[in-house]
Amino acid sequence: MNPILSLENVALGYSGKRVLSGISFFANPGELISVAGPNGSGKTTLLKAMTKIIKPEKGDIRLYGRNINDMSNKELARKIAVTRQSSQAPAMTVEEYVLLGRLPFLGKYQFFETEKDVSTARKYMELIGISHLHEARVDEISEGERQLASMARALCQEPALLLLDEPTSNLDIARQAGILELIHRLKQTLSIAVIMVIHDLNLASEYSDRMILLSRETGGIYRMGTPVETLTEETVREVYHASVTVSKNPVSGNPRLFINRSGINIPGNPSLRRG
């Protein structure tokens, strides 16, 4: 199987300060890869590199075998869609916002979207469950609803690779599961690859085919593999400096993490740290 995306020995940083190095992995069609790690470990930096927002200091990022730096923004946007952690709230209706997902497909001299563009936008609004908001203004809906609208816009791009930055951070438990269930089905039916940055390791464990655990100390991948291979008490302790007990979800059999309160440090205050 030819991978949709492949990274080969990629090093990333800002103004000479190296954040990540030696990053190599690939994403196959129909695969969901979660990227996890502590704050500041370079998860969002990695996503930014995959969309040309920052250029790798070393190594190649290839989409269908082509270096993404050789592709125009528009070409890239036809294949990669992104939802961001903190989307701006523009003064437009939800439908106008979702329709922006069709932008990469519009011709240079095209002034109006086609009927197909509108029906595509409506299809994904329906799928995400925000059809009733189509005339609501994006700057007047809740953060969670905005996150859903951002997801609908990304899907409206009908991408081969979907990059999600904390897609469930503002959603209630039902919506979290609903969105991840939808992504799980879409990746299979549409054969798209999904790379998701996520802090909730239990959700990542349930829905990921593979996980990448980034370490702030080493500035690279600490472990990569299935959730069972990645989420162990030892890896969580090493990467997050947190004590957890890992058991199995009785229904799915995936790893399930429980925090051990006695082993948790209070950040930034040594006097309050537990022995």
């Binding site: 946007a77 003064a91 209706t93 916002y97 922006l100 932008l103 002034f111 979207e113 086609t114």
Partner: protein
Amino acid sequence: MTMKKTGKWALALAILIGSGIVVSAIALCVGSAGIHPGDIPTIFLEGSGSTEYSILFNIRLPRLILGLSIGGALGLAGALLQGIFRNPLVEPYTLGISGGASLGVCLNIIFNLHDRFGVIAYPASGFMGAFFVIFLVYGLNRKARQMESNGMLLTGVMISYVSSSIVMFLMAVSENDDLHNIVFWIMGSLDEPNPVLIKTAALISISGLVISCFFCFDLNALALGDEEASHLGVNAARTKKMVFVIASLMTGLAVSVSGIIMFAGLIVPHFMRMMIGSDHRILLVSSFLAGASFLTACDVIARTVISPLELPVGVITGIIGGVVFIYVLSGKKGRI
């Protein structure tokens, strides 16, 4: 494109074009010598020679064309700049362009360049001053990643303060006649006798509208932020640079031909955004049309309210625009 939206946009355009026609007719007919709208075809057919013909086609029509062009250019520039800076307080003069133009004109008056180069020295010096500031703001921020919006705004505001201070200094040390000329120019007027300049203004403002329409979708995407616009295939940095140059050209044109006409570039795009939404496909065209009608209407008031004396048009745009805007804004509960 939904039918509902198409209908709404068509209605908005029809209303704006209709108001433009009505305002233009009023501008042609109202003045110290009143002309009945029904007489215009007869005056035109009778040809030059009559006083009415001279008033209509040598005085009022050029002034109308200039008002429509400058008003349109200011409305468009405001909509473009608010789009790229994602800041509702930005107007064409925020970036120091008016300050640069004022300084250029002050220097022209003080060094008597108009004696050497003729009346064209006024707009030429204003234009050069405006473009000096544009290149300064652009040049100082060119190397910043993605043309940082706040950096450009701050540079513009600072340049504006510096040039205003220099203008005040020049006014303080200038002679009475020069001072009067400077003050009169700064207050803004559509009384421009040079037909070439009027034609140039019309051509540049319409070209500006046509070219900016190619950036409608990019501006819509920029409302989400530079990075998200990039994710939608937009080259955010290039779009911002191009749009900045177009808006600056429009502003430079307006300032150099008509002096400083405040508020039109701030109020008109705001008003249009409140009325028909923030989609730049309709916002740019409607801001141009509404700006054209607004400035023409203000000019009619400026030259008739204390007739035979004439008020600076900037005074009227500020008073009417500000009051109407506050009224509409309070009705919309602050939603902009």
